[in-house]
Symmetry: C2
Subunit: 286 residues, 2 copies
């Protein structure tokens, strides 16, 4: 396994692989890898000759009052995990390698960034789109693997790939969970013992929503209020950021569960903001 | 010479060329080709095995009150010119091929877009960056040719190429002029006879600025007022949009002529907005 920090090195390695006819799968990460990342890497390994993992805590996707400085890092452990999973290359750039002095160019998808996390984090998706486009252009993967815990991110990136005519396949991968339902996230490391105990309520609210939808409830307002009630059981330890229902094409808010819908929650557990979601298959697509 | 309208066709042709080891040069245009475009195409032909000309009046680079609908078009004449110059492919997409329904992704360089044309045309460079990135990703040229009449466009696109790690060379080409100095532009077709007669004053203001700079004047305010005086000779037929001096890295306004500086003018001649400029080599780079 190779570990490189520069764009030129990373590009040279992936080009050599492609020149040998080897397909490249990419798993972009911010490091502090957990079993969710491992599932992406395994899938990439199954479907490609070579797997690249990028480990980069991307400053442009953090807002000014967010957790960039304290975002958890353990590169030695990330290296061990990647090595054990058969990764061929870790691309681990320093911020200056991605954003050199005078850097000026950003990618955005304003219409898809107004709801859900885009509302609470107005510059977040601009940062995500910019860094992921750069990774795609540097590494030129055949397939790229993303977890559906970050569902809005997946939909926006998939739209970018189509919009910019990028020649790669976006592969969505299911959210990996703790036994009690909590979605894996590097940010779970921030939780105190008490916070960790109540955090699965986010998942429970989504489970309740899915059960109501299966039972035939179509009024979003009714489902949202049941979800909010579940989160409120542990107020103020849990504080809702949003509970939103959006259709999966334009990510616009829906009032009725008829088409394919992303049902998403963001909540603060103590000071830690966590997100989770499920995808509801609309009647037309069942 | 092939003429295609779809992304897939254009990509297939340029890919086949590259697979045969042929280099591809691209000249992006909005059509209504003139001798300025011809000079870009000739240069591309000299330096590459194959030349692609894109002909696309890009709607996203026009503001709501600009001249998208009346922008001059003569595709048959463009085809003849390209054919006579040995172009291998004309990519002539319809707007829906570039911006299909639900299109959401845009590229921008806000810090480089605040001055000069970015001030008068706030969404212009977002449209330019987006369409040119798409052309680069679809056609994957080795070199791309742009006229320096649109100097801010060239600097912003060059920055995009560096920022996004695109593997191509941006080739700046000198402005081509009428015998009386007027910079060639498809928009010159809008000018009445009277307007056409006074339009060269824009160039004359720039010639005066360059003469003053050569004579050792370094105060931008002094040069700007001499330039404004020249344009005012034909007021109100000519109305200044801007006269600006910006350094060529970050495109920020300068008060003194010391470093490399772009000296740029935009002016309305009647209702037609024309631009022109020259590059002043700073003392450090002489």
């Amino acid at each position: 396994m190779e570990i490189v920090e520069t764009v030129a090195q990373a590009r040279a390695i992936t080009r050599a692989w492609r020149a040998q006819g080897q397909s490249v799968g990419l798993t972009p990460t911010m490091g502090y890898l957990h079993a969710g990342h491992a599932s992406l890497i395994r899938r990439a390994k199954e479907e490609n000759d070579q797997v690249v993992v990028s480990v980069f805590v991307n400053p442009t996707q953090f807002g000014p009052n967010e957790d960039l400085d304290k975002y958890p890092r353990d590169f030695a452990r990330d290296v061990d995990l990647c090595s054990s999973l058969g990764v061929g290359l870790i691309f681990h750039p320093q911020p200056e390698a991605i954003y050199p002095p005078g850097y000026a160019t950003y990618v955005e998808a304003p219409a898809l960034s107004v709801n859900l996390c885009g509302r609470s984090r107005p510059t977040h998706f601009r940062g995500v789109l910019t860094v992921v486009l750069k990774l795609f252009l540097i590494l030129e993967p055949r397939r790229a693997y993303f977890g559906l815990k970050d569902a809005q991110q997946f939909f926006i990136l998939k739209r970018m790939v189509e919009d910019l005519c990028l020649d790669l396949v976006m592969v969505p991968c299911p959210t990996v969970r703790e036994p009690d339902g909590l979605a894996l996230s590097s940010r779970n490391a921030y939780l105190s013992e008490t916070e960790r105990r109540v955090a699965p309520l986010i998942h429970q609210a989504l489970v309740r929503a899915e059960a109501m939808a299966r039972a035939g409830v179509t009024q979003v307002a009714e489902i949202k209020s049941a979800m909010a009630e579940i989160l409120e059981r542990q107020a103020p330890l849990i504080a809702k950021d949003y509970i939103e229902f959006v259709e999966t094409e334009g990510l616009t808010v829906v009032e009725e569960l008829t088409r394919d819908t992303l049902v998403a929650v963001a909540a603060y557990v103590g000071k830690t903001r966590l997100i989770d979601n499920f995808l509801w298959k609309g009647l037309d697509n069942k």
